[in-house]
């Protein structure tokens, strides 16, 4: 009888405990979710296998696939900043160019358009006037290269090329990306859903607790009204919870103490490990240059501005004269662009804030990764085509480097350097992939010298 009577109270405590625990956990999850995911970065193996843009050969359209593939790279490297296939950018849309004009006209035009205009060629003059007398620069391309560009353009005709279409083929859908900040979009979406669920749960629990407290009070009142209670029952009824017992208990004190010390230790270690880490570093740049606009919407090839990314250890931050290739004509009134003009007039180079800082003791070579390894820019730099303001996407820690070197298969296809190595590897250890580290890619003096 007694035990039955007392049950509601113990239930109340149980419920309270559960509620607190759940809220705590959910809070912890909500806080922990973002960094936990972003620390992971993109799984290194996921995109590494993607072949470089230059090697993608769309089978659509006629013509030689190799020529089209070559044309793709050439177009992106030379033409894409002013032309699109189906849209007017700076210059006309190039769809149907092969039908509009003969190759015998296109080739000299590309090589030296001003000469064509000056010669009084009717179509040339017309197109020159139509596009506000803006001169197309001369390109030192061979006839064959121009032909392959045209072949590629023909193959691309009619394909939708909206700003959301990702030209770089990384598989990251720009539309789904939230604003910059380092959180991974997909996981952030799931987190939001979980949050709603948790809030509902918490509300239900609070209602439940309140209800239970009310019921308990009513029952207590009822019991107090009864006269047939003996001393012991009355004692139980009048019992008040003594909180001092909890903090006086050695067990509780020990547990709290140990938990506190552990928590402090954990936090300090985490803090110490994070010293010098700049993941998510997003400084304000002197000029509000948007990669989202240039690389995302206008699909300008990375190597157009970062000229040496395929040939040098540094990718090269573009000099002002590269900006001027387009901005001598485009958006000349923008206050941001005017900053570039000012820099040129004053002969003072633009001082960008460096985002990706490797320590001096580490040697990193872009061309090794882009040209030889075939790694996409986004693998390390993240969804750069969606960044209005660039931030450091990857942690750039040694662990992060090594992990990728351990997991990433070498891009050995068609590279004579690796032929024999692949054979040797397959013979001795064919079951596991031939990764960077199996070729000595995790040895000290590959990066430290």
């Amino acid at each position: 009888m007694n035990s039955i009577r007392l049950r509601p109270l113990s239930r109340l405590f149980l419920a309270l405990f559960l509620t607190v625990a759940t809220i705590g956990e959910s809070l912890a999850q909500a806080v922990g979710a973002a960094p936990a995911v972003s620390k992971e970065g993109v799984a290194p193996g996921a995109t590494a296998a993607a072949t470089p843009a230059t090697a993608v050969a769309p089978a659509a359209g006629g013509g030689d696939a190799a020529a089209i593939a070559a044309g793709d790279a050439l177009f992106k490297g030379n033409c894409a900043q002013c032309h699109a296939v189906n849209d007017v950018v700076v210059g006309p849309a190039l769809a149907g160019i092969a039908k509009r004009r003969p190759m015998s006209w296109i080739i000299p035009w590309v090589k030296n358009s001003s000469k064509m205009v000056a010669s009084g060629d009717e179509y040339s003059v017309k197109i020159f006037n139509q596009y506000s007398k803006q001169q197309m620069p001369s390109f030192q391309l061979s006839d064959q290269e121009i032909t392959s560009i045209v072949a590629w353009v023909t193959s691309q005709e009619g394909k939708a090329t909206g700003p959301n279409d990702n030209a770089n083929g990384t598989g990251i859908k720009p539309g789904e990306q939230g604003p910059a900040g380092g959180a991974d979009t997909a996981d952030a979406g799931a987190g939001k859903y979980m949050n709603v669920l948790l809030i509902v749960l918490v509300v239900v629990l609070i209602v439940l607790i309140v209800t239970l407290v009310i019921i308990a009070n009513i029952m207590k009142d009822v019991l107090r009204g009864r006269k047939d209670l003996d001393g012991r029952d009355r004692e139980v009824l009048e019992q008040r919870f003594d909180f001092s017992k909890i903090y006086k208990s050695t067990a509780v004190r020990t547990i709290v103490g140990v938990v506190f010390v552990l928590a402090v230790l954990y936090e300090s270690i985490q803090g110490a490990m994070g010293v010098g880490l700049q993941q998510g570093y997003q400084p304000t740049q002197p000029i509000a240059f948007s990669h989202k606009l240039h690389a995302g919407e206008h699909q300008i090839n990375c190597a157009y501005c970062h000229t040496s990314v395929y040939k040098s250890k540094s990718a090269n931050i573009p000099s002002a004269n590269i900006c001027m290739n387009c901005h001598s004509q485009i958006k000349t009134e923008s206050p941001e662009i005017k900053k570039i003009y000012r820099a040129i007039e004053r002969k003072q180079p633009i001082q960008w804030v460096r985002i990706h800082n490797l320590p001096d003791l580490a040697y990193f070579n872009h061309s090794q990764h882009t040209q030889v390894g075939g790694i996409e820019c986004q693998t390390c730099h993240g969804p750069i085509q969606n960044m209005d303001v660039v931030y450091q996407y990857s942690p750039l820690t040694m662990g992060w480097c090594i992990n990728c070197h351990r997991e990433t298969p070498l891009n050995t296809k068609g590279n004579g350097y690796y032929d024999n190595l692949v054979k040797l590897h397959d013979k001795s250890n064919g079951a596991v992939p031939f990764t960077v580290s199996s070729n000595g890619g995790t040895e000290c003096s590959k990066c430290h010298y």
Binding site: K311, A320, P349, R354, N365, Y417, E443, K446
Partner: protein, 1013 residues
């Protein structure tokens, strides 16, 4: 109350002197000895608590500071030059010649900064080799000691104003003299001629610090072109042609061509050297005979008598000389005699001997122009200046106040205002420039256009590789401006070359600039040069009548590192710290004395002595030099600078004032008296033991006779005892072997080709940002060179004496080099052992083995236990005792790591090591990685020769071969296959560390060792 007895520890306490009170308060007097007190007394007595406080604060501050990374800027070009890509090195061909040796170079630039020189393989003269001096000159571009603006009496002056004043002064100057070292630039000479045309009464006087005036006079005003590869018997009388004489890089390559031996070519030249100082060339000779300078004339006469006959009898004779003369005669056209003497009589006889032999190695038709200095004209000019007969003097890269024996007179004349207008075109306010009214500093040669003609018909170009760093102007432009010619020197030069290059000029010019050398062209036809008529009789009587000096004879020589002590060399810390190949001494000069003499005088190494000659005296420490001829001493010139710059000032003493003139030529020999001063001055030597004590495991040599008899027996291979009998050491091993699938980098060093010139040492230093440590740290044996060249002398004692003399006594005796020892050089660097003892003892795995055979050193992992250095049998690891780039103690000597200006020379691909870490040769891993990457980009395997270490690249004699030992067709694989079991050996093979560096036994062309007895 009874007073307790008081005890005192000493008289000081009893007296309670102030000093005692002070010391009693500080038990540990010194602050941490990190920073040595430089006058601030407070810093040295800071109490320990302050130190702890400071340390606590420092740690806290460092922790806080490290939480917030500093904002770093990335500053791109405003307008990127087309050919520059950040991160990619560009190479430009150029030429280095500053009046000493000629080098055709490739300048490696990064982001527009020259950082290293490599030899230009296109050059038919230097053929890809470089001297140590030329290697180091890149550092002089960033020398803060250069004068950075035009100046009048030391104060800055506007360029135009200076031009105006100089033009006015020159117009009424009357006699004008342009003083310069040898100029081999045809266009510069044309500019000077044009200047002389504008100002009548201008004369151009050239002089050389180490003059070849005598040689020139004997050969009709030119230096004959020598080709040592065409000589089978070489007899050199004091000519250090491998180190400092005329064109050492060119001669070294030729010399070695005929010294390399293999199964196919079992012949080599025989080289006799008669000299007083132990020179680099003498160290490489098959037969070296010590000889007093005063005996030189008689010795040459003896050879003349034996080969040609007809001269009066010589008073000098010994067995070696007779052999040399007999062999010369037998060799005929394949014989060659050279002499370093500046005595025209000696040189006349030498020329006569070569003519009589019909030596194919001497080419009079295409002579060399690299020495044109005329001692007679120079001394006449200096006398005229002292007499006030010269109106204006222009010093063009000439510093006669320091480097001419009559420099003191000139200085006095300049100070007294005997010359109204004095102009210095030198790159700094050196000893002469300081005394000039006007200074119009010349560009560094890396900022200039120029052309050179080192040999008739061989032209080369220098092109600017960097925008001028300072407000200087190219000297030729200055001269043109003053002469009133508005053309720039660049256009002037191009116009000159229009007549030289055939065909489409622009195309040919571009090719010449690109290649650095213009082969197949010739200067406007000159009258064919014929062998000059020689006055042999006059020469013989001059030799006979030469005064016989009494007492000790001084022979002045040049050191391989510092050369003539010109500005570019003297203020260059790399060269100052380059150990002299023979003495292994750095930072300063000294008196080399023979051992017997030092013993007789009871002098020890480092005792300072006073050397007196011609009424002048200098004080220098003594260095005991085995092989120094009895009755002689040697002192290097080029030291004792006072205005060279922070690095070069006050090192050693200037020996030139001790010299006089003889037969109108500077006499580099003098009679001296020596007196001990009783003081000591340590000499900073990098190697203080001298012999190998019969340890065949370290370095091996054999005679050509033995090699021809049986090549399999020239090298001694140590065997070790095993249960199965004697076996090769690598049969027994604790460790597992590595399997190399991709590359296996290795190096082979041919001791027969290595002449010990030190070019590799400087090449390595430039490539790998090796710090300079200064004299005191060298004395402390903390030099940082990754590559050193060990020099060993032979001893008269051998293990065979164990029985008779006892083991201990014999070993003690073997430590002493013999009176005239044979010398052997051995480049020593990290051997990249496959079973490396250093790897197994590192507690933090900072040194590990790579899958390509490299012994890797990871600085960021190193905690500085130095176990590895302790366990290294080759002693090639270097510990960073200090932050050489930030510790003010090293600011003078290591300035290029301190200032923004100096740091431009650092190789950006190689880490500058911090204090407390170990470092060592990396086999130029950055070059390996680059070579591999280029091959991968082109989707192919690297070709042999694409990946070359800096030392191998710079070696003038190609003694070092670097390559992939896994590639069966590589040069190194072929060499090792060929030499396996013959000359190839590993140093300390018996300890079985299996190095990746293989040495090839040195072969000497002697029949027996009695030659040198």
């Amino acid at each position: 109350m009874q007073e307790s007895p008081k005890y005192w520890k000493g008289i000081e306490e009893l007296e309670n002197s102030p000093e005692f009170v002070k010391n009693a308060l500080t038990e540990f007097a010194d602050f941490l000895p990190v920073k040595e007190s430089t006058g601030g007394a407070d810093a040295t007595i800071a109490p320990r608590r302050d130190f702890l406080k400071l340390m606590g604060f420092g740690i806290a501050a460092a922790t806080l500071a490290s939480c917030e990374a500093p904002v770093r800027k990335a500053i791109p070009y405003l307008n990127k030059p087309e050919e520059v890509d950040p991160g990619i090195a560009n190479f430009y061909a150029s030429t280095f010649f500053n009046g000493q040796d000629y080098n055709s170079i490739l300048v490696k630039t990064r982001e527009g900064r020259p950082i290293k020189f490599e030899g230009n393989p296109e050059s038919p003269i230097t053929r890809g080799g470089l001297s140590a001096r030329a290697q180091a000159v890149v550092l002089s571009l960033y020398d803060g000691g250069r004068l950075q603006h035009f100046a009048k009496k030391g104060a800055k002056i506007d360029k135009d104003q200076l031009d105006q004043e100089v033009r006015n002064a020159l117009a009424g100057a009357g006699r004008i003299a342009i003083v310069s070292p040898t100029i081999i630039s045809p266009s510069t000479k044309k500019v000077i001629a044009e200047f002389a045309g504008r100002f009548a009464g201008t004369e151009h006087v050239m002089y050389d610090v180490h003059s070849a005036s005598g040689l020139l006079r004997a050969n009709g005003g030119v230096v004959p072109a020598y080709d040592f590869s065409k000589a089978d018997v070489i007899v050199s009388f004091g000519a250090d042609f491998l180190g400092t004489w005329l064109s050492p890089v060119e001669y070294a390559r030729q010399y070695i061509t005929n010294r390399k031996v293999s199964k196919e070519k079992q012949t080599m030249s025989r080289h006799f050297q008669f000299e007083s100082n132990m020179s680099l060339t003498g160290s490489n000779a098959d037969v070296r005979v010590p000889l007093k300078p005063s005996e030189m004339g008689e010795a040459v006469l003896a050879v003349y008598n034996a080969v040609v006959g007809g001269g009066s009898a010589s008073s000098y004779s010994n067995k070696q000389l007779q052999t040399a003369a007999a062999e010369l005669k037998r060799a005929g056209a394949r014989g060659l005699v050279v002499s370093g003497s500046n005595d025209p009589a000696v040189q006349t006889l030498v020329a006569a001997i070569n003519q009589a032999l019909g030596s194919a190695a001497v080419d009079v038709a295409a002579p060399s122009y690299i020495r044109q200095g005329d001692d007679a004209r120079m001394s006449r000019l200096l006398r005229d200046i002292s007499n006030g007969q010269v109106g204006a003097v222009i010093f063009y890269h000439a510093n006669p106040v320091f480097d001419h024996p009559m420099g003191a007179d000139l200085a006095a004349a300049l100070k007294a205002g005997k010359v109204r207008t004095t102009i210095s075109l030198n790159d700094r306010l050196d000893e002469t420039g300081e005394l000039c009214t006007y200074a119009a500093p010349d560009h560094h040669f890396l900022e200039s256009w120029n052309d050179y003609e080192p040999k008739r018909g061989f032209l080369s170009l220098a092109q600017p590789v960097i925008t001028p760093l300072f407000a200087t102007r190219q000297a030729q432009d200055s001269l043109l401006t003053w002469a009133g010619n508005p053309t720039t020197y660049y256009n002037y030069l191009r116009n000159q070359w229009r007549g030289v290059l055939g065909g489409d000029f622009n195309k040919a010019w571009d090719k010449a600039v690109h290649d650095g050398v213009a082969t197949g062209t010739a200067t406007p036809a000159l009258a064919a040069q014929t062998a000059p008529a020689l006055d042999v009789t006059g020469a013989i009587s001059a030799i006979k009548s030469a005064p016989k000096p009494s007492g000790i004879e001084l022979a002045v020589y040049e050191k391989v590192g510092i050369g003539n002590g010109a500005n570019l060399f003297a203020n260059n810390p790399w060269l100052q710290e380059l150990p002299d190949p023979v003495t292994k001494a750095t930072w300063g000069n000294y008196v080399t004395v023979p051992r017997a003499y030092a013993a007789a005088q009871k002098w020890e190494q480092g005792d300072v002595v006073t050397v007196t000659a011609n009424g002048k005296s200098i004080q220098l420490p003594v260095l005991i030099q085995p092989g120094q001829a009895a009755g002689t001493i040697g002192i290097a010139l080029g030291y004792g600078r006072t205005n060279a710059g922070k690095v070069g000032n006050d090192l050693g003493k200037n020996v030139l004032p001790l010299l006089g003139m003889r037969s109108d030529a500077v006499n580099y020999v003098a009679s001296v008296t020596l007196a001990a001063t009783g003081t000591q001055e340590p000499i900073a030597q990098t190697q203080t033991h001298h012999t190998i004590m019969d340890r065949k495991q370290v370095v091996q040599e054999a005679t050509l006779k033995q090699y021809i008899e049986n090549p399999k027996e020239v090298t001694e291979y140590e065997k070790i005892s095993t249960p199965d009998g004697l076996e090769k050491p690598n049969k027994v091993s604790l460790w597992q072997d590595y399997e190399y699938k991709n590359h296996h980098w290795g190096m082979a060093i041919d001791l027969n080709s290595c002449i010990g010139c030190g070019s590799c040492v400087i090449g390595c230093q430039a490539e790998n940002n090796v710090a300079v440590v200064g004299k005191q740290e060298v004395i402390n044996r903390r030099e940082m060179h990754w590559m050193r060249i060990d020099r060993y002398y032979s001893s008269n004692h051998h293990k065979t004496e164990f029985e008779t003399e006892g083991k201990l006594d014999t070993y003690a005796a073997m430590e002493d080099p013999s009176e005239n020892p044979q010398v052997i050089f051995q480049p020593m660097l990290c051997q990249h052992c496959n079973h490396a003892p250093c790897e197994t003892v590192c507690p933090v795995l900072a040194t590990t083995h790579s899958s390509e055979g490299l012994n890797q050193m990871t600085y960021n992992r190193c905690v500085g236990t130095r176990y590895c250095a302790n366990n290294c049998p080759y002693k090639v690891r270097r510990f960073n005792w200090f932050s050489y780039y930030s510790n003010e103690k090293f600011e003078t000597v290591n300035g290029h790591m301190f200032t923004d200006l100096g740091r431009m020379v650092l190789n950006p691909d190689v880490t500058v090591r911090a204090r407390g870490v170990m470092e060592k040769c990396s086999f130029c891993v950055q070059r390996i990685q680059l070579g591999k990457l280029e091959a991968k980009k082109q989707k192919r395997r690297p070709q042999d020769g694409e990946v070359v270490s800096a030392c191998a690249q710079s070696c003038p004699t190609q003694a070092i071969v670097f390559g992939d030992m896994r590639d069966p067709n590589s040069r190194i694989s072929q060499l090792l296959r060929r030499e396996d079991g013959e000359r190839a050996f590993h140093v300390l093979d018996s300890i079985n560390v299996q190095p990746n560096v293989t040495y090839l036994t040195k072969i000497r062309n002697t029949e027996s060792s009695e030659f040198n007895a």
